[in-house]
Symmetry: C2
Subunit: 218 residues, 2 copies
């Protein structure tokens, strides 16, 4: 399948490399055509790895992944072009982290809105699925880094789109039962608001190789 990834940071490149290793074709999209990280990634990635603009990534992808920072995601996807996202599964991996000058981290939007909802509102023809925004990039594509059973979460309005994302997650190595469907895109508020807790856990453990396992009585 052809994937277009919007954003060339750690998350974008980690997902891109995994998708290539699974035999998919990937265009890693950056704001400008001369992005060094993206071009070097494409050079290293064989015939199925390409670098391009946000628009080129969105155009080529059958599934598009938003791997930009949540505070700039709508802007980046606008550059990608609403018409190139229409009808497509759009996996939103972002978190809207805002870093204050004193090092405090907060979220914007938060509480009564989320990046996931905002993207779905701004691009109503895209089939947005919030996913993978609750864990560190290496773990997204290699769940076995953390032993035992632990979970990833999906949210979105379109059941077929969620099924497609679930299939991608299973390709990444997530057991089918580890993928919990939290409902409509408004549930993105819930997973985005995990970030402040996640940051405290990172401080507690001193690393990022951890994840949530939801234990139930049944």
């Amino acid at each position: 399948m052809r994937f277009g990834i919007i954003g060339t940071g750690t998350v974008g490149r980690t997902l891109a490399a995994k998708l290539i290793s699974l035999g998919h074709e990937v265009t890693l999209g950056s704001r400008t055509k001369d992005n060094t990280a993206a071009n070097e990634w494409a050079d290293r990635s064989g015939p199925y790895g390409h670098a391009g603009t946000f628009a080129e990534a969105a155009e080529s992808g059958e599934i598009v992944i938003n791997a930009t920072g949540g505070t700039v995601s709508v802007q980046a996807l606008t550059l990608a072009g609403a018409e190139r996202l229409a009808g497509k599964v759009l996996i939103d991996v972002s978190n809207p982290l805002v870093f204050s000058p004193t090092g405090e981290v907060s979220l914007d939007p938060v509480n009564t809105d989320s990046v996931g909802e905002r993207i779905q509102r701004e691009f109503p023809e895209a089939r947005v699925v919030k996913a993978l925004n609750t864990l560190t990039a290496p773990l997204m594509v290699d769940p076995g880094r953390v032993p035992g059973e632990h979970n990833v979460f999906i949210a979105g309005e379109d059941p077929e789109a969620k099924a497609a994302v679930r299939a991608v997650l299973v390709e990444f190595g997530w057991p089918e039962a580890a993928v919990l469907d939290l409902g409509g895109i408004q549930a993105a508020r819930g997973t985005e608001m995990l970030m402040p807790f996640w940051l405290r856990l990172m401080n507690h453990f001193g690393h990022t190789d951890f994840n949530y396992s939801i234990k139930t009585a049944e």
Copy 2:
């Protein structure tokens, strides 16, 4: 030990009953002296269970527990009296849930503040520990309702106070290793902001007998 519980809702009464069963003395404090739920609870609870005002509960408790709704906690604790909280361990179990007319749930405060921090600011001589606000009341005092290993979280500025709360949690049945210390009281932002996620999990599972187990690579 003597506990004063501020708030007579499900959380307050559940904690009170468990503390009595463990041999502690409990005053369940309500806004007014003629609170039916509190008086009935005291009548049922033998010689170590008492009903009283917020002030009487705070006065009698060596450890005080805030089990009011997070949006009214500062007001309730003001009625309890700053002088009666001074120097005491104050366990804050609250979440600042706000219900909109359409049934949407949000938090206030959130993101750049929390109830835990607000209480510590308003009552600087109290030794506030945020704890137990991440799970349903029956599970707080009976972790075995959910099989396997899962976690509770503490946050606060005073190490001795956190040690005292840890001891209470161990009395409740939590394994020592299940209690994760997330740092200072600002970490209350992290645990309070779990609530929107928790509500989606409740919808997903159709019950509240679930909890977070943090899995790590080490």
